[in-house]
């Protein structure tokens, strides 16, 4: 089973990398970019075949390592 995990900074957490990308896009002539927030994307292959068990395991993985829930949110998508 394959999972796709998106980790993004919580609202209000300063994202200087996103800001730098936003600035670069502007200077390249891309108009109308209001804001850029940078995040992370993970693909996790699991041997588990039970979807709800996989979901529970992935949630624990996100809480314990993949995301820092002090500053980040995560979204799990199971294929």
């Amino acid at each position: 089973m394959k999972a796709k995990i998106k980790v993004t900074l919580k609202n209000g957490v300063l994202d200087p990398q996103g800001k730098a990308i936003e600035g670069a896009l502007g200077s390249m002539g891309f108009d109308g970019v209001n804001s850029v927030r940078q995040g992370k994307y993970f693909e996790v292959e699991l041997s588990e075949t039970d979807k709800s068990k996989a979901q529970a395991a992935l949630k624990t993985m996100c809480e314990k390592l993949i995301a820092n829930t002090v500053i980040e949110n995560y979204e799990i998508e199971l294929a």
Partner: protein, 220 residues
């Protein structure tokens, strides 16, 4: 005063810390590899600076989950003194021993320079030989030292006097909230800080401003 310095792959400031502790306490610290599961019998554990696991995932994230950290956590909860410097600060916040997080410097630059550091709380085991409000010079070297916490945590840290070190005189190098350079836990036995006091204690360092901090360890 018996101490231990933890060692993770990618840590590179361990020797500076070992030398500083050896020089100031007179006893050579144990060096404890991250796969160990039990700390030696010590009064102080130092989580040193460097780039554990190449800063992969998040600074300190992977080191925070290493086997030795379970014992550090268990003993810290029972009052063992833990001093965490730079990457060490990132590791102990990732391990949940201190609140908040250290994120990318606001201006995206890696900063390697000297800052001015105000001692805001001189009741801790590391600051007790220094007057409250005293300002010392201290080097910093980090790319992710921007301390952030939610408003409630920040209020609690300030209200309980748990901001131990603050960047003074407009020298905040990373955008940290409230100019926070170092904090402690509610019991005061876990201290985390971004600057490197171990690099300002020898004549050859240029200044010895941070020597009294280490001397405070002996007065424990």
């Amino acid at each position: 005063m018996k101490s231990a310095v933890l060692l993770f792959p990618g840590i590179n400031r361990n020797e500076d810390m070992v030398m500083a502790l050896h020089k100031t306490t007179g006893v050579k610290p144990h060096v404890v590899w991250h796969t160990e599961t039990t700390l030696p019998d010590v009064d102080l554990v130092v989580v040193p600076g460097g780039f554990s696991y190449g800063d992969y995932l998040r600074c300190g994230a992977i080191a925070a989950r290493s086997p030795i950290m379970s014992d550090v956590r268990a003993k810290a909860l029972k009052g063992l003194k833990v001093l965490a410097v730079c990457n060490g600060f990132q590791i102990v916040t990732e391990a949940g021993l201190l609140p908040g997080a250290l994120v990318r410097n606001a201006k995206l630059k890696f900063v390697c320079k000297e800052v001015r550091l105000r001692i805001e709380n001189n009741q801790t085991y590391f600051t007790k030989k220094v007057a409250k409000g005293h300002v010392v010079s201290c080097p910093v070297a980090h790319g992710e030292g921007n301390y952030i916490a939610d408003p409630e945590t920040l209020k609690r840290l300030e209200g309980e006097g748990r901001v131990v070190f603050r960047y003074a005189e407009g020298t905040n190098p990373n955008g940290a909230m409230n100019d926070i350079a170092g904090i402690c836990n509610d019991a005061g036995n876990v201290i985390g800080m971004m600057p490197h006091p171990e690099n300002m204690i020898e004549k050859l360092h240029g200044k010895q401003d941070c020597l009294p901090l280490f001397e405070g360890l002996l007065a424990a």
